[in-house]
C-alpha cells in the first residue's frame, strides 16, 4: 500500500499529464465518433440515391483497415499535404472516424429497429423525411442505440492507448515509464493505470446509462422503474 502511495506521489505530475492526454483523446474521440455515427447512420437510411452508398463505402473503409495505419496516415501523410493535426488532433480524428464507423452501424440498426408502423404512420400524416426522422423516429431510436454507443465509448476510452504509437505521453506511456523505474513495482505501475482507465470508462458509461434510462422513461417504457422509484420514495418517507 505504501508502495502505491509513494509511486503516486512521485509520479503525480506525470500521471496528471498522462491523464490529461488520455482524457483529451477520450472526450475528443467520443465527440467526433458521435458526429460521425449520426451523420453516417442517417446517410445510410436516407431516401436519396447516392448517400447510402457513400456511407457504406466510408464505413467499410474504416472498419476494414487498421486503426494504427489510419493514425499513421493522419499523422505522417497529411502534414506534408498541408493538413497538420498534431499528434492529439490526429489521435482524436483517427479514433473518432474509426469508432464512428462502428457507431454508425449502431445508429443505422436502431433507426431500422423502430417499428415499421411508426414509419408508415408518418407517411400517412404526410411528414417529410427530415421531419419524421427528427420528431418521431430519432427519439425512439435514441433509446435503442444508447446501449450500443455506450459499449463503443468504453472501447474507445481503452483504445486511446494506441496514442503511444504517435509518441504521445498518455496514461499508457507513463505506466510503461513507471514499470522501468526500479522503485516502482510492476504491479503498482499497471495497477494504478488500470484503475484510472477503469474510472474514466465508468464515468462515461454511467453518464450514458443515465441518458438511456431517461430516454426509455420518455417513451413510457420502464414504467416499472418509475413505479418502483415512487414506491421507494414512499417507503423512505
Amino acid at each position: 500500500m505504501s508502495d502505491i502511495l509513494q509511486a503516486l506521489s512521485d509520479y503525480r505530475p506525470y500521471l496528471w499529464e498522462g491523464l490529461q492526454v488520455t482524457l483529451q483523446l477520450s472526450l475528443g474521440g467520443v465527440a467526433v465518433a458521435i458526429v460521425v455515427s449520426v451523420v453516417l447512420g442517417l446517410a445510410a437510411i436516407s431516401p436519396l440515391p447516392v448517400l447510402p452508398v457513400v456511407s457504406r463505402v466510408i464505413v467499410e473503409f474504416f472498419r476494414g483497415t487498421s486503426l494504427v495505419v489510419q493514425l499513421f496516415f493522419l499523422y505522417y501523410v497529411l502534414p506534408p499535404l498541408g493538413l497538420d493535426l498534431g499528434p492529439v488532433g490526429a489521435g482524436i480524428v483517427g479514433l473518432g472516424l474509426n469508432y464512428g464507423a462502428y457507431g454508425s452501424e449502431v445508429v443505422r440498426g436502431s433507426l431500422n429497429a423502430v417499428p415499421k408502423g411508426q414509419w408508415e404512420t408518418t407517411l400517412a400524416l404526410s411528414m417529410s423525411w427530415p421531419l419524421k426522422v427528427r420528431r418521431v423516429v430519432w427519439p425512439q431510436a435514441w433509446a435503442l442505440m444508447l446501449p450500443g454507443l455506450n459499449n463503443l465509448t468504453v472501447m474507445l476510452v481503452k483504445g486511446t492507448a494506441v496514442a503511444l504509437l504517435l509518441g504521445l505521453h498518455d496514461l499508457t506511456y507513463w505506466a510503461d515509464e513507471m514499470r522501468k523505474d526500479p522503485d516502482v513495482g510492476l504491479w503498482t505501475a499497471y495497477g494504478i493505470v488500470f484503475l484510472l482507465y477503469y474510472l474514466i470508462a465508468l464515468a462515461c458509461s454511467s453518464g450514458l446509462r443515465l441518458l438511456e434510462r431517461r430516454a426509455q422513461r420518455r417513451l413510457g417504457l420502464r414504467a416499472d422503474v418509475a413505479v418502483t422509484d415512487r414506491a421507494t420514495a414512499e417507503a423512505v418517507a
Binding site: 408502423g117 411508426q118 407517411l123 400517412a124 400524416l125 404526410s126 411528414m127 417513451l219 413510457g220
Partner: protein, 270 residues
C-alpha cells in the same frame, strides 16, 4: 341503414365533380405473387365503401396502394382526377416525382389496425404534430383543434396522458382523431377494431359512425364488423383472390348475396 345517400355519380372526367378515387387496371405483385390483377373500380365523393372478403384477398393491399405505402406494379390510381403515383403520357406509363405524389397524398389519411401512436409524445402532441409541422398551423390553433377532436372521440380529459396509459380502444380513438386533424378528403380504415378486446370495439365504431354522420369524408373501410359496415357504407365490394366478385348496396349484400363465394364468406363471419 346508410345515413346518407350516395352522391350522384355523374360528370366523370371533371376533377371537381368526377369520382374521388379511380382504380384503373391496377396490378400489384409481391415478387412473383400476383395479388391484384386488372382491378377497376371508382369511389365517389363522400361515398363510403366497405371492402369485404376472405383473408389474403387483397383488401389491405388496396388501401396501402392508395396510401402509397406500396409501389403500384401496373395501372393507375386517380384521386380527384389526378394521377397519384403513375401517369399516362401517350402510350407510356411514367412514375411521378415524389413532390407531386406528396401533394396528392396529403388528401388521404389512414388509420391502422395497430394504432401506431407515437410513444415519444403525449396524446395531444400525437394529434398536433402533423398539423403544426406539415400544414403550418399555429400551435394554439392546432391545440384547440386537437382538443375539439379529442372531445369528439370522448377523450378530452386524456390530452396530457401518455399513449401507453390508454387502453387499446382509447389509443385507436386518438389515432382516428390524429388522422382527422389532417382534414383528409379520403380516410382509409384497415380493420381498425381487429386488434381490440371485444368490449372496446363498440366505442371505436361509435366514433366512426359519428364521423360518417357529421362529415362528407370519402371512406374506404375494411372491416369484419358487418353491422357497422351495413350502417355506415353506401356500397360493399366483395373481394376474392384480388378480384371484385360482387358489388352491392349493404342491404342487398348482407341479406341477399348473389355469388356463392359471398354467401359462404358471410355465413362464416356472421
Amino acid at each position: 341503414m346508410p345515413t346518407e345517400t350516395a352522391p350522384d355519380p355523374t360528370g366523370a372526367g371533371s376533377s371537381e365533380t368526377g369520382p374521388r378515387i379511380v382504380m384503373e387496371n391496377v396490378r400489384k405483385q409481391f415478387g412473383k405473387n400476383v395479388v391484384l390483377d386488372d382491378l377497376n373500380f371508382s369511389v365517389d365523393r363522400g361515398e363510403r365503401v366497405t371492402l369485404i372478403g376472405p383473408s389474403g384477398s387483397g383488401k389491405t393491399t388496396i388501401l396501402r396502394l392508395l396510401m402509397t405505402l406500396e409501389e403500384l406494379t401496373g395501372g393507375y390510381i386517380y384521386v380527384d382526377g389526378e394521377p397519384l403515383t403513375h401517369a399516362k403520357r401517350g402510350e407510356r406509363r411514367v412514375k411521378l416525382r415524389s413532390g407531386e405524389v406528396s401533394r396528392i397524398r396529403r388528401r388521404i389519411g389512414m388509420v391502422f389496425q395497430q394504432f401506431n401512436l407515437f410513444p415519444n409524445m403525449s396524446v395531444l402532441e400525437n394529434i398536433t404534430e402533423a398539423p403544426i409541422h406539415v400544414l403550418g398551423r399555429s400551435k394554439d390553433q392546432a391545440r384547440a383543434d386537437a382538443l375539439d377532436l379529442l372531445d369528439q372521440v370522448g377523450l378530452k380529459d386524456r390530452a396530457q396522458a401518455h399513449p401507453t396509459q390508454l387502453s387499446g380502444g382509447q389509443q385507436q380513438r386518438v389515432a382516428i382523431a390524429r388522422a382527422l386533424a389532417m382534414e383528409p378528403e379520403i380516410l382509409l380504415l384497415d380493420e381498425v377494431t381487429s386488434a381490440l378486446d371485444p368490449e372496446l370495439v363498440g366505442d371505436v365504431l361509435q366514433v366512426l359512425r359519428d364521423v360518417a354522420r357529421n362529415t362528407d369524408i370519402t371512406m374506404l373501410i375494411v372491416t369484419h364488423e358487418m353491422q357497422f359496415a351495413q350502417d355506415v357504407s353506401h356500397r360493399v365490394l366483395m373481394f376474392d383472390q384480388g378480384h371484385i366478385i360482387e358489388e352491392a348496396s349493404p342491404q342487398v349484400m348482407f341479406t341477399a348475396p348473389q355469388h356463392e363465394r359471398t354467401q359462404q364468406f358471410l355465413q362464416a363471419v356472421l
